[in-house]
Structure formats: structure tokens, C-alpha cells
């Protein structure tokens, strides 16, 4: 059996996903980073973007995170985000509409949020 790490994906108001994984890919402010079991203790600032989790049963979980942190210690990875959504939970059409609306209304934050959601869906 391959080595595993425990992942907790936590949003400010709820716990989004938790489980065992073999690889987690996330985007920090200084570039993409992949965390595998046994990685050295790490604390990083996340960029808004999709996070890909390869679960130990071979599946893939994709989530859109909007700002946040990742911290890895003792084979336990915590992904903290103010807002985090699993790609399965995202309504593509609604996100597209939101993107359109945000683009025309020059609301940068909303545009970024909608963009991140769509990217997460695309990765899935």
C-alpha cells in the first residue's frame, strides 16, 4: 500500500472535505506545489485557484479555494480557505453567468471568484 497523508480541507464556516490522499497539488504565491506523504513541515500562502487531491483509492477531488493557507506537519495537511468549494458542488452555468456579470460590472473580486470556480470545474 502506498504511503498516505491525511488531508483536511476547511473553509471558515465548515469542514469541506477530509480523507486520505497520496498527492495534493495546490498553488502558493510562489508557484504550484505538490505535497506527498513524508513532506517536510511546510506552511504556505495559497493563491486563489483549484486544489487537486489524489485520494488513496485512486480518485481525484478538485476544489476551488479563494485565498488561504496550507500547513503540513506529521503527515497531516490542512488546507484553510475563507471560501472553499468542491468542484462537484459548483454550478457551472451559474459561475459562467457570474463571470459575465462580474466582467461587465468590473467587480474584480467577484470576477476572480467566478474564474477560479470555472477553472476548478475544468480540471475535474
Amino acid at each position: 500500500m502506498a504511503a498516505e497523508l491525511h488531508v483536511e480541507l476547511v473553509a471558515a464556516d465548515r469542514s469541506v472535505w477530509s480523507g486520505e490522499a497520496t498527492l495534493v497539488v495546490a498553488r502558493t504565491t510562489s508557484g504550484d506545489i505538490g505535497v506527498m506523504p513524508g513532506h517536510q513541515p511546510l506552511l504556505g500562502v495559497l493563491e486563489s485557484g483549484p486544489v487537486t487531491i489524489r485520494t488513496s483509492d485512486g480518485g481525484t477531488v478538485v476544489a476551488a479555494v479563494h485565498g488561504g493557507f496550507l500547513s503540513f506537519a506529521d503527515n497531516k495537511l490542512s488546507l484553510l480557505a475563507e471560501i472553499a468549494e468542491l468542484a462537484d458542488e459548483i454550478d457551472t452555468q451559474r459561475a459562467e453567468r457570474a463571470l459575465e456579470r462580474a466582467k461587465s460590472g468590473d467587480d474584480d473580486a467577484a470576477e476572480r471568484r467566478a474564474d477560479v470556480r470555472l477553472r476548478a470545474v475544468a480540471v475535474r
Binding site: A12, D13, S30, L43, G44, V45, F69
Partner: protein, 305 residues
């Protein structure tokens, strides 16, 4: 029906209606406490992990950050007071306000200027009635706060703490809110959020005594701390708002329960009085009849002779 009896009946009817209302409010508040408690529980993992991360960075690196080091001579402090928008909650808001007043007094005694920030219309009303200066205030979400609300509240606080003291910034950040201990007990607490006291932070996240690993920072310890601390403040404010909301509902429930009990008591007393009035009326009627009859009898007995 006699006048007195009618008055009693009318009062009983009105108190019964009031009792129904307070009973309904009590039950609504009781169901909201459970919901608010669940929200507090749901926000705990984030808060715990964040506190752990902040503790890890602050202890694991030799970084000096304005938010973790005490100013040599603090001269200004910000106090965030969390009250409710609506009353009917017993002493809930006034207790929180009293606690904030004490804290303000103490800080002034230490020679610090105090900027007050208020959440909840009750607190705003108290301060504006006394014409005290309020740095900023918010309202309209105290019953059901969201993370976005916490962000909105935290924003000016973080801005104030990052500004130089000479330019109107603050050295310390305190928060006064009502802690939800149990359904029956809620007490106002005064917490110092910043500068961060690491011992307390470690205690809250339950990591006291635990040796934290040597973290690798991405991109650097300073940047991580810069990004972490505002989130930390937001999450603490969010937690305080949620606890305050739960406390408010618990206080409302208790106040409404005693109002219902009092209404029941009042109905009991009034019905006793109404019964006595009815009895008195009947007794009077009988004695009037008897008196009338004997008067008639006396009159006829006299004419016979």
C-alpha cells in the same frame, strides 16, 4: 356582570394573549440557540488550525512582526464591543456594555486612548445617547452573522493596527463579547486579540506544551505571517460574533421564559380575584333578595293586624 368582574376578565384575556406571544418567542429562541451552537462548532476547525499555524510561525521563526510584539509604550487601544440589534434579551446587551465600560476605564487608567468600535444597534444607541465618540459601528446581522460580516468588521480594525500610532493607528486590539458557556450561563468576556499573546493562543488551540515542528515557509516567514494575522483577526471576530449570537438567543430564551412564567402567575392571581369578585356579587344578590323578601314580609305582616 358587575363592573369589577368585567375588568378582571378583560385583564386575564390580555395577559393570556401576551403569554402566548412570549411562549412563542421562547420557543423560537430555543431553536435558534441550537442552530447558533452548530455554527460555532462548524467554525471551530478553521479557528483551531489557524491559531496553530499562527503559533507555529510566531514561535518557529525569529521574525519580529508588529502584530506579535508589544509596543514599548502603548498609547492607543481599540475596543470592539459586540452587542445585539434587538432587545427582549434581559441584561444581555447592558452586561456586555458594562464590561466594555470597565475595560475602557482600565485602559484609560493605564494612560491609553481608547477607540470604540461597536457591533449591534443596542450598543450604538447606548453610545450615541451619551454622545460618546464611536470610531465605527455595524448592525443588522447580529442574529445570524456570516464570515463576510466578520470580514467587514475586522477590516478597519486591521487597518488601524497596521497604521502608525502617531497617524491615528492603535497599539492594542481588545474585543468584548458574551461568551456562550452553557444554555444557562453566558458571561461577557474581555479578550486581547493583538498583540498576540502566544501562551494564550496555544492554550486556546489545545497545543500547549506540544512541540511544533520546524516549518518550511512558502514564500517566507514574514510573508506568511503578514497574510496569516489578518485572517487570524477575522476568524477571532467571526468566532466572537457567533458566540455572541448564541448567547443572545439563550438570553432571549431565558427572558421570555420568565416572562411566560410571570404571565402565568399573573393569570392565576387575577382569576382568584375574579372568582372572589363573582362570589361577592352572588352573596350581595342573595342578601338583597333575602332583605327584600323580609321587608315585604314585614310590610304584609303589619297590614294584617
Amino acid at each position: 356582570m358587575g363592573a369589577q368582574l368585567r375588568v378582571y376578565k378583560r385583564r386575564i384575556k390580555s395577559v393570556t394573549a401576551t403569554k402566548k406571544i412570549t411562549k412563542a418567542m421562547e420557543m423560537i429562541a430555543a431553536s435558534r440557540i441550537v442552530k447558533a451552537q452548530r455554527q460555532v462548532a462548524a467554525s471551530t476547525p478553521y479557528a483551531t488550525e489557524l491559531t496553530r499555524a499562527v503559533t507555529a510561525v510566531a514561535t518557529g521563526s525569529a521574525t519580529k512582526h508588529p502584530l506579535t510584539t508589544e509596543a514599548a509604550s502603548p498609547s492607543r487601544a481599540a475596543v470592539l464591543l459586540i452587542t445585539s440589534d434587538r432587545g427582549l434579551a434581559g441584561g444581555y446587551s447592558s452586561n456586555a456594555i458594562k464590561s466594555a465600560e470597565q475595560l475602557t476605564e482600565r485602559l484609560r487608567g493605564e494612560g491609553k486612548e481608547v477607540d470604540t468600535y461597536i457591533v449591534g444597534r443596542k450598543g450604538v444607541a447606548y453610545y450615541s445617547f451619551r454622545e460618546r465618540a464611536v470610531a465605527d459601528s455595524w448592525g443588522g446581522f447580529t442574529d445570524n452573522p456570516t464570515y463576510a460580516d466578520a470580514k467587514r468588521v475586522a477590516e478597519p480594525l486591521i487597518a488601524a493596527i497596521e497604521r502608525e500610532t502617531a497617524e491615528g493607528g492603535v497599539d492594542e486590539l481588545h474585543i468584548v463579547f458574551t461568551e456562550f458557556i452553557s444554555m444557562m450561563t453566558q458571561t461577557p468576556v474581555q479578550n486581547r486579540l493583538l498583540p498576540l499573546s502566544l501562551d494564550e493562543a496555544a492554550e486556546e488551540s489545545g497545543t500547549k506544551g506540544e512541540i511544533l515542528p520546524l516549518f518550511d515557509f512558502e514564500p517566507s516567514a514574514e510573508d506568511v505571517l503578514d497574510a496569516l494575522l489578518p485572517r487570524y483577526v477575522e476568524s477571532r471576530v467571526y468566532n466572537a460574533l457567533l458566540q455572541a449570537a448564541a448567547s443572545k438567543h439563550a438570553a432571549t430564551r431565558r427572558a421570555m421564559k420568565s416572562a411566560t412564567d410571570n404571565a402565568g402567575e399573573l393569570i392565576k392571581t387575577l382569576s382568584r380575584l375574579a372568582n372572589a369578585a363573582r362570589q361577592a356579587e352572588i352573596t350581595q344578590e342573595i342578601s338583597e333578595i333575602v332583605g327584600g323578601a323580609s321587608a315585604l314580609a314585614d310590610a304584609t305582616a303589619g297590614s294584617d293586624r
